[in-house]
């Protein structure tokens, strides 16, 4: 009989979701799955009402301008939102500062602007513990620096960056500060105003406990984005051009209302559980995992010397093993689901020196993991490490050669 899967790939997507999320998504779509607000009938208004209430609720949750909930715009995911935010901020001749911790959702849009639009970019390395030093960002600022974009929590090594300190620097210099909260929204408290964050990009399917296919950004009142798409808005249809007011300015076509429902239910769940409690549970398991892995010969853990300012995401390798092979063995022999490779964050691996060994094995713990699952995972890594030893000490197996 197959063992139940131990899911440790929550940094890719949180799974499973709370039961109330599944129920509300289905119930809402069945009862109210019409195009929101576009038409005047009651049901359309009801659907639109959930959408608008969610804008307000998330704006408050993220510490944005609660008197301007229209500035929380929905898209498909964080990559989609970054593709609206980054080209919406930067033009030819602008300079942007970002970090080696970024996901490709930031790296690639910036690199395209550098190659094709004459934007200049500086990538700031992280230190040996996995943190970006705010003063390094200060020193990289130039006269034409238009934006600083920082990954709040690394999806590879799990470190949480000093956003408030970087935000203060940006605020003093009048530079737009953008953060990627794909790994942190719903995990740790975020307050855009207190942290001087101008634009916050989020995804819905991770710790916000929503579904895949919804994400977006929240933008402060004093910042504006250039629109780079155009299309249906459901309002003022006679206008030959796209609507300039938020949220329509940055939303295009029919929204993902099933995703809206999921995010709403996710907020309900987070409110009931308390994100501090969920985070404490995940970090307790992360400590257990790191403590266990540290005892295993040949295991190399990255940037986990301290788990202060850390997410429950842990990357490691076993000396002498390709990360992908360890992942396959954990999956097939131990029923542990991890993510191996470069994690869409190639610069992290370049800096760690793991790019040429095909990245690392990432364990990302979620709200529904248990101590027993962590212990089984440690045992799995131990068994693989032991197998590497025995494999080295004997010749390759194989029956006598045969002609075929």
């Amino acid at each position: 009989m197959e063992r139940p899967l131990i899911y440790l790939d929550n940094a890719a997507t949180v799974w499973p979701k709370p039961e109330n999320v599944y129920h509300f998504m289905l119930d809402f779509y069945r009862s109210t799955g019409v195009n929101p607000g576009r038409s005047g009938y009651d049901l359309a208004q009801e659907a639109g009402s959930l959408l608008e209430r969610l804008r307000g609720r998330l704006t408050k949750f993220l510490g944005g301008d609660v008197d301007a909930p229209e500035r929380l715009c929905f898209g498909y995911n964080a990559t989609d939102a970054m593709n609206l935010v980054i080209p919406g901020l930067l033009s030819r001749g602008d300079h942007v500062i970002t970090t080696n911790l970024e996901h490709n959702s930031v790296i690639r849009p910036i690199n395209h602007l550098v190659r094709e639009e004459g934007v200049e970019a500086t990538y700031i390395p992280f230190d040996a513990q996995g943190f970006v030093e705010p003063d390094t960002i200060r020193k990289a600022i130039r006269g034409n620096t238009r934006a600083v974009i920082v990954n709040h929590g690394s999806n590879v090594i799990g470190t949480i960056q000093p956003i408030a300190e970087i935000g203060k620097i940006c605020s003093e210099r009048g530079i737009t500060f953008v953060i990627d909260t794909a790994q942190t929204a719903g995990v740790i408290p975020i307050n855009m105003k207190e942290m001087n964050v101008d634009v916050l990009v989020f995804t819905g399917h991770k710790a916000l406990m929503g579904s895949m296919g919804i994400g977006g950004f929240c933008i402060r009142k004093h910042v504006n984005l250039r629109r780079t798409r155009a299309g249906g808005t459901g309002v003022r249809s006679a206008d030959p051009y796209h609507i300039e007011e938020y949220p329509w300015r940055m939303e295009f076509g029919t929204p993902n209302m099933v995703g809206v429902a999921a995010l709403w239910a996710g907020q309900e769940w987070l409110e009931e559980k308390g994100i501090g409690n969920v985070y404490a549970h995940e970090m307790k398991l992360a400590r257990r995992l790191v403590d266990g892995l540290r005892k295993i010969d040949k295991v190399r853990i990255y940037c986990c010397e301290s788990l202060e300012d850390h997410l429950s995401t842990v990357s490691m390798n076993i000396d002498g093993m390709d990360a992908a092979d360890v992942g396959v063995m954990l999956d097939v022999d131990h029923s542990v689901a991890t993510r191996t490779g470069l994690h869409c964050a190639p610069l992290v691996h370049e800096q760690l020196g793991t790019a040429n060994i095909h990245g690392s094995v990432r364990f990302s713990i979620g709200a529904f993991n248990t101590e027993e699952e962590i212990d089984a995972t440690i045992k799995g890594v131990e068994a693989i490490s032991h197998w590497v030893d025995t494999r080295r000490s004997r010749p390759a197996a194989g029956a006598p050669a045969v002609s075929n």
Partner: protein
């Protein structure tokens, strides 16, 4: 496309050194590529895996997951690693003339 020569035979390969066209595969390809994988000679066990990979690909136009490969061939994963030192994904795919499955790295 790069061309490599193994034991006097020339093969068109992709950037990872896998056979460019799976249709061009035959037993000789497997024997030739085995030498690039550090496999001195192919055993019945190797052929069992390679044949399964080929038949799966012909039916599904894709490569079986490691879990399925173990189940269908009766080998444990560790036995597969013993047979194909670079792993069932890389090693067995290469010998079976199939493309390297896409991965993050």
């Amino acid at each position: 496309m790069p061309i490599i020569e193994i034991r006097g035979h020339k093969y068109e390969v992709d950037e990872d050194g896998f056979l460019q066209s799976p249709e061009a595969w035959n037993d000789e390809v497997a024997c030739d590529f085995a030498t690039t994988e550090g496999i001195a000679s192919l055993t019945e066990d190797h052929w069992k895996v390679v044949r399964y990979m080929r038949s799966y690909w012909q039916e599904n136009n894709s490569v079986p997951l490691a879990r399925k490969l173990c189940k269908e061939t009766g080998f444990t994963l560790q036995q597969l690693y013993d047979l194909f030192p670079s792993g069932p994904v890389n090693g067995a795919c290469k010998l079976a003339g199939l493309s390297k499955p896409p991965s993050c790295a």
